[in-house]
Symmetry: C2
């Protein structure tokens, strides 16, 4: 089956968690909105009254007749069908729980530069962003990173659930890569507290299919339109 | 099986979505943290190194040997085991997608009174909260409510997926009840735009087990510690 991924073509954003899973699985897929007229197709699937299960926002995935929205939901599906999650119900629920916690972290990372409104420019909410980013660096980032560090350690590592990689590991790699880009000083200061997370990041980056993807043109570079933005004043 | 729900005892919060599902299913459950020493038990399950799948935050559910965290993940499990979701994979993914969109809405509702930091008091972020609430009332609430209105209408109603109630309907009921409490003027002004949502709310509230629950002491009243808070200045 050829999967069709629908996501904004200019950014990694939430689509990147899906791209990483498709790439690691060696799946056949098209990143539709990056093709000619692809963005129109995407908007049509969101707005057409003929679509029975429209998404509130991208990303969404077409898998045969299924149209699946919400990043963790797409990964729940791909985890099962592409071998990126355990086969037991307990194992699948645990990996999904980790992914949902990563999704919560993503919202908080995004809101460091958009604490007032996602429809406003960063420049319209700079003082608020600086306050929120202070709180993020001091409290929220250490709380999330400390949690994932503890989970890897408890599993025996090197991944979140032990010896086998899951989609949640690919997402945690993306979080670390993104924080290294957007909060380089914070990450440099805090890095020694998270040896297991750093090692997971390096190990995922070195997996053959991920390494090939990261070097390819399919990987959109980080930029100041996405979730992970480097604004010097927000890094303390 | 007797389920054990773990959540903060003073508020509806995110635990309420789980409580509503357990009540509608007629499930046997204990709201552990509302019992003597229950909060200690909850914190132990979050902090103990002996727990293999610790949650980042409440709520979490003990179901036999399983310990399941993250509200949408708990509902995914209960939907399957308590008959509150379709049996097909396509149906289950769609209901879960709707629940994840409700969860996104919950974050944005919460952040109207806490745009800067969840560890700070409301009084420490009042000007920012007023700006964020303005944006919420003008843009975000209509966008989310408009989406769910459209979904109910497209399904043929009266519920999100048609004639059978799912856990996502119970959660959407809670959203409407909460917004009626926290943004009464906004809801009064906008209500005529969402006839299907209003009717879903009323229909869920009238379901025998839900009606009995809402009248019972098990239903914690809305208050200014939870997600849905009434602050006059945030309602425009």
């Amino acid at each position: 089956m050829r999967y069709e991924l629908y996501y904004w073509p200019q950014i990694q954003g939430r689509g990147e968690y899906v791209r990483l899973a498709l790439e690691e699985a060696g799946a056949d897929y098209i990143d539709v909105a990056r093709k000619p007229r692809g963005e129109d197709k995407m908007l049509h699937l969101m707005q057409s009254r003929a679509v029975k299960t429209p998404s509130f926002a991208p990303p969404f995935l077409k898998a045969g007749k299924l149209l699946i929205g919400q990043t963790p939901n797409i990964l729940l599906y791909l985890g099962k069908h592409c071998g990126l999650a355990p086969k037991t119900e307990a194992g699948r629920l645990w990996v999904h729980q980790l992914q949902l916690t990563i999704a919560d972290f993503v919202v908080e990372i995004h809101d460091t530069h958009h604490p007032i409104g996602s429809g406003l420019y960063y420049e319209e909410q700079k003082p608020e962003a600086e306050r929120r980013a202070d709180d993020f660096r001091a409290h929220r980032a250490p709380k999330f990173l400390g949690y994932f560090e503890r989970v890897i350690k408890a599993s025996g590592g090197p991944y979140l659930t032990g010896r086998r990689v899951t989609y949640a590991d690919l997402s945690l790699f993306q979080i670390v890569a993104g924080l290294n880009y957007s909060f380089p000083r914070m990450m440099k200061r805090q890095a020694r507290k998270y040896p297991h997370i750093r090692s997971l990041h390096d190990r995922v980056a070195a997996r053959p299919r991920i390494a090939a993807y990261l070097k390819s043109e399919r990987r959109i570079p980080f930029n100041e339109m996405g979730i992970f933005r480097f604004y010097d004043e927000l890094d303390g």
